[in-house]
């Protein structure tokens, strides 16, 4: 079971490396909530 999220680079899909995961966390650090209440 993967410990880290999957990254896709063009057609290659694999688990993120530690460095990629760190960059991914930085990218998502300021992710806002979408406006509107969730109805899903």
């Amino acid at each position: 079971m993967s410990d880290k999220p999957l990254i896709q680079i063009d057609d290659e899909i694999r688990e993120m490396t530690d460095e990629e995961y760190a960059k991914y966390l930085e990218m998502q650090a300021s992710a806002p909530s979408l406006p509107g209440a969730s109805s899903e």
């Binding site: 990254i7 680079i9 899909i13 998502q28 992710a31 406006p35 209440a37």
Partner: protein, 180 residues
């Protein structure tokens, strides 16, 4: 002025083909359960301006799709105004010298999508962004009234990355060049 209509076997005239305004330059299928998708070799000096459309996929949950140019993690500015489908409630999302354009698209369990135009992305100057649309598939969601921004770094890029907090599955990312 009319437009050419081609039939099977027709000779393709240079004058007609050189008038084609939008050209599909890159197609990328999105895999299953990915949190980040990088598309390389999407932009070149062939075109000043590009349109990126992602459609046909789904998200693990309602989440924003962030857009990053190349490896640049700073200098992203944007503003978008929204209004709920269900009430006269306005909202906004801003990126103020952020690490990416945080809400260039949206992923939902009923559909994931992104539709943006990039101005000057392959030139060594600041890139402009127009958020053409971001469709919210929730009945209590919101529509985007207007959105745009820019990347405050004078640099040329050849690729981009979409990322989400959860995962996205399926669909296709298409990159089109607007003919100069």
């Amino acid at each position: 002025m009319g437009y050419p209509v081609f039939a099977t076997g027709d000779v393709l005239n240079a004058s007609d083909m050189n008038a084609v305004g939008l050209w599909l330059v890159k197609t990328q299928t999105v895999g299953t359960g990915v949190s980040s998708v990088t598309v390389t070799n999407a932009f070149s000096a062939d075109y000043d301006n590009y349109r990126i459309i992602y459609s046909g996929g789904i998200g693990s949950t309602a989440q924003a799709i962030a857009l990053q140019l190349g490896a640049s993690t700073t200098g992203y500015y944007s503003a978008q105004a929204t209004i709920l489908y269900s009430a006269d409630t306005f909202g906004y999302i801003r990126d103020n010298n952020a690490a990416n354009w945080s809400t260039a698209g949206g992923a939902f369990t009923d559909g994931a999508n992104l539709d943006v135009t990039l101005y000057g992305v392959q030139a060594t100057r600041r890139t402009g962004l127009a958020l053409n649309t971001r469709i919210d598939y929730r009945t209590a969601g919101a529509g985007v009234l207007v959105g745009n921004g820019f990347h405050n770094v004078a640099a040329s890029y050849t690729g981009f990355t979409l990322s989400v907090a959860g995962t996205i599955t399926g669909g296709t990312i298409r990159v089109y060049g607007y003919r100069n």
